[in-house]
Symmetry: none
Subunit: 125 residues, 4 copies
DNA sequence: GTGGTCTAGACCACT
DNA sequence: GTGGTCTAGACCACT
């Protein structure tokens, strides 16, 4: 498991930052099936956040089928096929894209202009 | 002033929806310099939202120099050059783009893939 | 909204008791569409439980589409068709039935005997 | 003793799964009086679970009079009359039935509908 | 007023 | 050791 970073100053809820980072590691195959995640309490201690905040992230990971829990043992990465992962990624992307694109549309930005901006800033922002 | 639409059920704060729609109308030149905005109370009544919420949007518009207030008369569209407008638009876009792109990067999405998604879904999402 | 009862002594988590009681009231039509639920804090106070416990129940209600939230206003009963409700009820029943029946099977109880027990005790247990 | 199967991923505690399976074998007469149960350590090894977990199941079996222990020799199936067994089974069934039925009642399910569901799904769930 | 999030600590069951 | 639940209080944004 790669390092997890959490910004307590961000407007984005901590539990959501956790969810996004871990789910994307699973989707990208950086966390193999049946890998044991660090325990809720260990994670809380290391990141200096509350146990309940970690639990909330883990709950969402389980609810969306990224991990499974064996009470008394810990939480493990679910067994996902490449197809599962591709589908999960697509879902996550489209959910956000929907919101993001509607924003640029409101601003009156054309598709071409948006793409130009992305092309220009993707690496450096 | 074109019709303003507000979704009370959205997760996006109402005042922010107001701000985005009006500021983008100003940037795009749909609201000419010195145009009188409808009064806070009228707007609140028409959109069936609270006066306080409208006030918050108007405040932010004034604070970011989109409108100016003449006490006792109302709020008017600021005198902005094309260059001002272009710069404001750029600012608004880049602020958001920063957040959005970092999200897609976290997911491990390449620039090319992102552009492909946008090309595919810009019209229909 | 009918009275909600919560047994802190039960092994069943409080948030789950809340979820079950409210969702079943919605399914059975005792809570009409767009009815405003009592606020999280009011409910917590009345039932003498923590705000977070109520929140967890409300979260699950929202996640399973029984209610929707307007931040700053409150939580409202979703607009569900009779068909939606019938389907939700079926789902809830089958989920449980699966667990329950497997238990009686393990005990070696035949379908006929189980039905006899239910016929005998449904009213009085 | 028939094969015992244990699902470590289940929400049901492992010791309880053990208890249910063995007690039901005794009740149904598949384990005769004075049969020697496999040792705790053997069972733990075969099922790949902890000795403590098996011990907990055996303890509960003894406490509810299904087995008796001869220190240094092992655990044996108690001498139970048909009447004893019938009564134990009834007890186990009624304990659970009480909980289960109250759940279906909360959902507003009538006795007739519940029986219909069971009739439909007993074999296939 | 409303929800949304978070903390620091607690107690429990299970392994 | 592990996770599951809960409390009592806090601070924040939004209406």
């Amino acid at each position: 498991m790669k390092n997890i970073e959490v910004a307590t100053t961000s407007k984005k809820p901590i539990y959501q930052q956790l969810f996004e980072q871990i789910s994307s590691q699973i989707i990208r195959g950086e966390l193999a099936t049946d890998t044991l995640l660090p325990s809720i309490r260990t994670t809380a201690k290391e990141l200096r956040i509350s146990v309940i905040t970690v639990k909330k992230a883990w709950d969402e990971l389980e609810q969306k089928n990224f991990i499974y829990t064996i009470p008394g043992k810990g939480c493990f990465v679910s067994n996902l096929t490449k197809k599962d992962k591709a589908q999960m990624m697509e879902e996550q992307i489209l959910t956000r894209l929907k919101t993001h694109l509607s924003y640029y549309k409101t601003l009156g930005l054309s598709k071409e202009d948006l793409i130009e901006y992305i092309d220009k800033y993707y690496e450096n922002l």
